[in-house]
Symmetry: C2
Amino acid sequence: MEFKTIEGGVCAAKGFKASGVYCGIKENPTKKNDIAMVVSEVMCNTAGVYTQNKVKGAPVIVTKKNLEKSGGKAKAIIVNSKNANTCNADGEEKANEMCRLTAEALGIKPEEVIVASTGVIGQVLPIEPIKNAVPQLAEKLSYTGNIEAATAIMTTDTVKKEYAVEFEIGGKLCRMGGMAKGSGMIHPNMATTLNFITTDCAVSVSMLQKALSEIVKITYNCLSVDGDQSTNDTCMLMSNGLAGNPEITSEGADFDTFKAALYQVMANLTRMLAKDGEGATKLLTCVCSGAPDLDTAIIVAKSVIRSPLFKCAMFGSDANWGRILCAIGYAEADFDINKVDVSLASKAGKIDVCENGAGVDFSEDEAKKILTEDEIDIYIDLKLGTEKATAWGCDLTYDYVKINGDYRS
Amino acid sequence: MEFKTIEGGVCAAKGFKASGVYCGIKENPTKKNDIAMVVSEVMCNTAGVYTQNKVKGAPVIVTKKNLEKSGGKAKAIIVNSKNANTCNADGEEKANEMCRLTAEALGIKPEEVIVASTGVIGQVLPIEPIKNAVPQLAEKLSYTGNIEAATAIMTTDTVKKEYAVEFEIGGKLCRMGGMAKGSGMIHPNMATTLNFITTDCAVSVSMLQKALSEIVKITYNCLSVDGDQSTNDTCMLMSNGLAGNPEITSEGADFDTFKAALYQVMANLTRMLAKDGEGATKLLTCVCSGAPDLDTAIIVAKSVIRSPLFKCAMFGSDANWGRILCAIGYAEADFDINKVDVSLASKAGKIDVCENGAGVDFSEDEAKKILTEDEIDIYIDLKLGTEKATAWGCDLTYDYVKINGDYRS
């Protein structure tokens, strides 16, 4: 299933408003937005997946507690960039204060607020700028505020990431849209970085969580920029039901349609995150097919996407396929390396580089032409079964080192 | 125990000769040595640890078979750089041919030869240059050939790596020395890259293997340059017994002394490998103490050493300790993150940056001064027990990207 894409990001679905402003959490001469708010006109069912890092950002802890208290109900998101509010003694206190301020400005309960932060770890979050910003954010909320919000959550991102689709359920037109941020410290093990998806399609809390967990596994969790799993990874899905469809409360055709829409939104946001990986000049998409099971396909595809040596070779447009085989070989999964085929492709063409685990003759000129493009596909066939998975990543470049050798200052 | 270091590398122990020559496995205007031989005058007991990558270089497979056939006995090593002889349809045939040629030149059996290769994966190994070189190598064997040999196994290494010690067992003076190569694709899971250690101390095959496996775990396996586990990792330990000590056949004081000597040789070679990591400007040594068990200490120390973001921060001399906490947090081990202390040190001083999982105030100027040095120590205290481990790595720099964006050509 492929759905029609629409504009509007987190405001694409009916009844969602957003806003973003600059409040000065950190000195910033460009005055780029650094805090955003997303609000639904009516109460939402909400699902979330969070980082599995033992170091959890205070906002992650507070959001989980809020949703437990509210039974998975929420109306608003408050999110800042420039400071992760992580590894701070007063982190939870500050995160709670952000929820309290938001609740007060909107006339809702603090536990109906989702809070998130991204930025430097281990620096005390200044609350004054946020205190000043929250009433402004509430006032500026609009149905076209998605761009202001998507800009506010960017850190080292060079472009904002938004995607939205429309689809039909129970004869009703539904919409779903999302925004995401993340450029470095990206190797999610539950969700990645910050991702907020809103929909007007009515879905129960439990089915919303089921859909999100299933799709996160094959989208965000198949993304790696640098192998560093963040402390603040958060992916939230909010459904306000304003499309008017009969609520999805069980598996079936409607649930499948909903999941297909969710896959399309999340896979496209994942692709955008990979393409805008810190310092990246190339998007790498690795498809592992012929796997005996889905997990094997995911593990193999991610292993290749994560290999620094392979990522450097792609930066240099060098068809050094031995590094692909090496990364397949250390993937922790069961398969027969002597059956593996590998091809490289881009819009300039496709070549086979390895068959049954051994090299095949190919034209280096043709390979160079293919790899000089900025979107490269790597196809791996394990020839053992019918399962398949895609992983997304980017090349490793001088700029990655530059950006991260001097991030705090 | 700390032993006296001596010169001589793989020729430091009695009865070991070595040689190295340039044979032209790959066009090379500098004519750097690309093939080496190490020979013992008498038969050796031999132990080995090898890569756990599913893609195994043909030499790894052949060496294992040889030692099985000979019951762990060997007299010679033949090893080339510039070509890994891996992922080639005729790989085992060529590796066997290398053993046959060596055996013929030395008048020994092919199964008494250890064969190893390092270099590009997936390119057919040209056998003609090797055929020509083997008789030359046999002729040039000498007690001072260790430098020629250590140079021959270098790939992107910028310096040769040798280390040797002397120690006493059963009233006899024993010597042990080794050479190692490896600069990229270093994240060993058994041994790393190529490491050859020779000793004249008499040790049975089974105790030799026991010592090697135990010490590999806390030295080579605690090294990471880039997280890429090579297909050709091989670590060999040969003992010819010429020191005349009573053979070590069981645990006890003699075995402990032998292991202490082996640790000193291997830890120092590991340190040299880390310091000469591809593109590295800084050696990073991470000591995790206060662990409930050895495995936890190793896992935590390696997780930090492997983090690309932390490695970039060290390149930039930036005390971004949040990245250390982040990497500790995603280490797959059990501990309480809220107890963790972290300090940074170098010969310029030492500062605490994190206590009980949260940041502490420190002078950024002092931190900068400490991190501008080229050997940085990271101390992590889990405050849960008495176990401790060290991991070695290096910073991630522009040159790593440069070297690996253009390695094959």
